[in-house]
Symmetry: C2
Subunit: 386 residues, 2 copies
């Protein structure tokens, strides 16, 4: 690039329709650039309380232990898994994409005995299979699963999975990275015990924060651990002395002040619009996309009942050069879409319509650009006219 | 406060002269608010390379494994300790303040056998005591210490400690949270094996990122581990597939894009000024403060040779109400200074002159305000005139 590092960095303006980060509203960027205050400043303590309230509403919970982990969604996964498991604990984890697979890795490193339960990528977690596994393996303490699989665009039935886990006395850990504010989440109604999400999906906040929530059963479990949580940084009994509701906040770590300004503003925008309106907007954008793709002869990977409105996996026709299409969208049209991962690499594109991305004008721009790029590629591939 | 969470948050404008965060330049805040791009965008990959180069220069190292952990300095501590230690490993950790104490806790949770070595808070780590401990306890694999103790304002002799550790075949882990860009760091010359810092101290970037660097011996050690690193998120063998120098970057986690814009801009400002000039500016601000305090009859906690210019621990006279002075500085003068921690609570104030804070006008404003506040308090305390 022949740049010197002493030059200022001016990023291009992309339309972010990949699997995240999603487009960030100018108001959120402006909030992020407000003057930094101290992490123990009384004004900042007030901001943290408001973030907690707005996260509780978005998660559908009254859980007191609801806050933003000071790192991306992957660290939120670490936070949920490592607070709950102890060495030797049995955890059943549904694997129907990248993130269930990752959860197995995280739990294994934490010393748990992981029982993976596989489903074809692009299909949901089958609650009946969860029940069979819970019957087959005695003493399973935790069930982990992904609500909205970002790698495939599949939604699983969180309420059904949580109900079964509870029936067998297991606590549930749910990945809600891509679901929060895009589709309904009702932690309390469903009985989910621990959940993590990410700032950069349907909240349309820059990446770097992971909203989490721990229910009363999970908190009780953590308090009764035999061993300490492996990570001091993630130990919720420590973090909550800082995020807790009382006035005498104890210093734990230095909170990412400006990132939390941005999260506050993005949550504020979600609640001003209203969660139901946000869900409807995501749904409308998805239907517009699905219709436009069908008109172009393109198909979605996931069966209709399990499709996530906010993450659309599009089957790449065999005649099309995957990488060339994505590169052209990025370089010629300033639109980012995502590639397939794992067994779906080269087989799907992932189009995220998350948060600010879930708007008719963005869907139209993508459909038009994609149509142009595909037509260009197919014309180039034609034999030369004689 | 009677605020609704639906109101926009407008923080007060504080002069941040506590132990961090430090004042952030408007240019850095503006960079943070640039449009978000994807974490695999070619332009962003370029930015990451430049950050790596600028961090290498600031750390005085050619270490290839130099990057910013996507979380605050405390997570950087986790990253260094948890990548290196394995269950049962012996680690000697010098404790002369909060952060050496914390490192003991982190290493203990990670399964290490921790040998703490205590020094009075406010005094430096004595390299001779390190050597005695290494002779006494056989098989110590790691030596951990804090270069610049933020809780006391003490600088320890990193070069001497690292040389001794190397003599006994131990790897060194150094906390450089408050030292980076405030006082010289020469990782390669000193032979430090792993180091972590923070964005919100002398780099004057908002909090939330932890620059780290691992030397060749540390990397070799990690590659030859018998067990996997406990945290998937922090495992440098995984992270480096994303931060590495080759073009085919693998997705690991979603980088905190806008926070890294800010880190790039703050590093750029450091290198445009020049490290030596930055050190000199910190030193000049410290001398100005020390002189002004002396004129007011106030004393510094730390003996002169071990004083950190960027973190000044001021003894609170017995007649003065600690909390009232700090509250008045904050509420009446919009200046944040820090309280004492642990055994020094109520006994010292901590004045940070870090990064943008290390400027004559800020020191003058603090001295004048502190003088006013103290005089007000002493006059109030006088018996009523008859």
């Amino acid at each position: 690039m022949n740049r010197s590092y002493l030059e200022a960095f001016l990023p291009p303006t992309r339309l972010l329709l990949g699997p995240g980060p999603s487009p960030v509203a100018p108001e959120v960027l402006a909030a992020m650039a407000a003057p930094t205050v101290g992490h123990l400043d009384p004004s900042f303590i007030g901001l943290m309380s408001e973030i907690k309230t707005m996260l509780q509403l978005a998660f559908g919970t009254k859980n007191d232990v609801t806050f933003a982990v000071a790192g991306p969604g992957s660290l939120g996964m670490d936070a949920c898994v490592l607070n709950l498991i102890e060495p030797g604990d049995k955890i059943l984890i549904a694997r129907n994409g990248v993130f269930g697979t990752r959860m197995c890795e995280v739990a294994t490193r934490g010393g748990a005995e992981v029982i993976p339960l596989d489903f074809t990528w692009g299909t949901p977690v089958d609650p009946h299979a969860i029940e069979s596994a819970l019957q087959q393996h005695k003493g399973i303490k935790f069930v982990g699963f992904v609500h909205a699989e970002t790698s495939t665009g599949v939604q699983s039935d969180a309420a059904a999975i949580a109900a079964i886990a509870r029936k067998y006395g297991a606590l549930t850990i749910m990945d809600a990275v891509t679901s929060l504010a895009g589709i309904p989440i009702e932690l309390d109604e469903w009985g989910i015990d621990a959940v993590y999400s990410g700032s950069q999906k349907c909240l349309s906040c820059p990446p770097g924060l992971s909203p989490v929530s721990f229910g009363p059963r999970a908190v009780e479990h953590v308090k009764n651990r035999k061993s300490k949580v492996l990570s001091w940084f993630l130990d919720i009994t420590q973090v909550m002395a800082y995020w807790g509701g009382d006035k005498a906040r104890a210093y734990h770590h230095t909170a990412p002040v400006n990132s939390l300004y941005a999260l506050h503003e993005s949550l504020r925008r979600v609640h001003i619009e209203g969660l139901e309106a946000s869900f409807a907007r995501h749904r409308a954008a998805h239907l517009q996309l699905a219709e436009g793709l069908a008109a172009m002869g393109l198909e979605l990977l996931v069966d209709e009942p399990y499709r996530l409105p906010q993450l659309n996996a599009i089957k790449i026709p065999a005649s099309i050069n995957d990488a060339q299409v994505r590169a052209s969208l990025l370089n010629d049209f300033n639109i980012e879409i995502g590639a397939g991962l794992g067994p779906l690499a080269g087989k799907i594109w992932r189009v995220g319509l998350m948060g600010e991305g879930a708007r008719a004008e963005h869907v139209s721009r993508l459909l038009q650009s994609l149509n142009t790029v595909i037509n260009m590629q197919m014309n180039e591939a034609l034999p030369l006219a004689s």
